[in-house]
Amino acid sequence: MSRYSRHIILSEVGQKGQDKLNSAKVLVIGAGGLGCPVLQYIVASGVGQVGIVDFDKVDISNLQRQVLFGTSSVGMNKAIAAKKRLEDLNETINIYAIPEQLTIKNVLQIFKDYDIIVDGTDNFSTRYLINDVALQLNKPVVYGAIYKFEGQVSVFNYNHGPSYRCLFPIPPKEGSIANCSEVGVLGVLPGIIGTMMANEVIKIVLNFDGVLSGKLLCYNSKTSEVSTLKIKRNPVEIDKIKSQPDLSYLSIEDNCTAVKEITNDKLNFKKNIQFVDVREFHEEPKIELSNCLQIPLRELEENINQIDTSQTIVAFCQSGIRSKKAVEILLNQGVTNCYSLKGGVMSLFEKQSI
């Protein structure tokens, strides 16, 4: 029996459908909670060309849900680690790892080789970038997003159907909606949502009638409730994007500038770093350094003038969550040269940086 015999015996697929799958070109952006199950199923289904975009590394905390990876993948780039595992799953297809962050600069070059784009990212700026570029290039986007116990799935820009902007026209402020690393997520949830996304990819390739276009499927893993909401195409929002001469508007509109994080081993302790401790005054351990200011997060906005913004600002807190919020506040006030210390104050003691 051939690898795809269970597909081929389905009258709705057949050898013809399998040939379509074998010649499909699918780009998966983000090899995380959603990207992993999408990749596993589309690769197993025999999608002929699969691209994987991810700049991040596999962390031990990913393994609770990103079951494509194993302990031996920790520390490796996700796109490369995924390719390695997936080539064992199906060696008959072409898999390309693109270990880069998707940006305004590389997006066109990366998208041009693919027919279907899968959005498995974890931040709004990349989601809007993917949607808008796919809209301009007329490529369908299989969209999935999760929050704690809930997920959303849809297909945008499919046969002139609605786009993500018809649902949420304006990017929300980054920090207003937390991602999994901050609030947690039930491990099985991205598995369910990602598998639904893989299903949509295959339906698009096979030209099935029931593609989830013009609809947003909302799933709640606690109640097992599914709600499907209709989305209408909004020509005004679509024309706004299609009439843009280039992508520069995205960086202007972008409320969700990704907060830059820095690890303690990357801190070069020159005199031009201004540390900002955004913890409350009672929190331990205390850091006493001449280039360290303490301004609790809740007082930061009104005390920005205390900070010497001509220096490189490194905000830190206990674990690295509040300091990300602090950097968002600084970014919103036009202070751009700022970082959040990954891992928080405890990471400073790991390698005796201070």
Partner: protein
């Protein structure tokens, strides 16, 4: 009239319920939102879309049915 309001994601956390019934006299979605903002002042600062009878609608839409849902964007992946 009696409206059934359903909340998703962090909006459900803010209201501490998945759904609730609301007695409402008015004609437009934005009037429902005003009422909800009174009840949940923090809701004003949140991003969300409104669905009526399982269809995403704009805030100036007329109330045509009893099922309203407040849907925030999710970023997680």
């Amino acid at each position: 009239m009696q409206l059934n309001i359903k909340y998703f994601g962090l909006i459900a956390e803010l209201t501490s319920c998945g759904e609730e019934q609301l007695e409402f006299q008015g004609t437009k979605i934005e009037e429902v939102l005003e009422k909800l903002f009174e009840k949940y002042p923090d809701l004003k600062t949140k991003d969300f879309q409104v669905a009526q009878n399982r269809e995403i609608v704009s805030n100036d839409s007329k109330i045509t049915g009893g099922d309203i849902a407040l849907l925030p964007p999710f970023s997680g992946g």
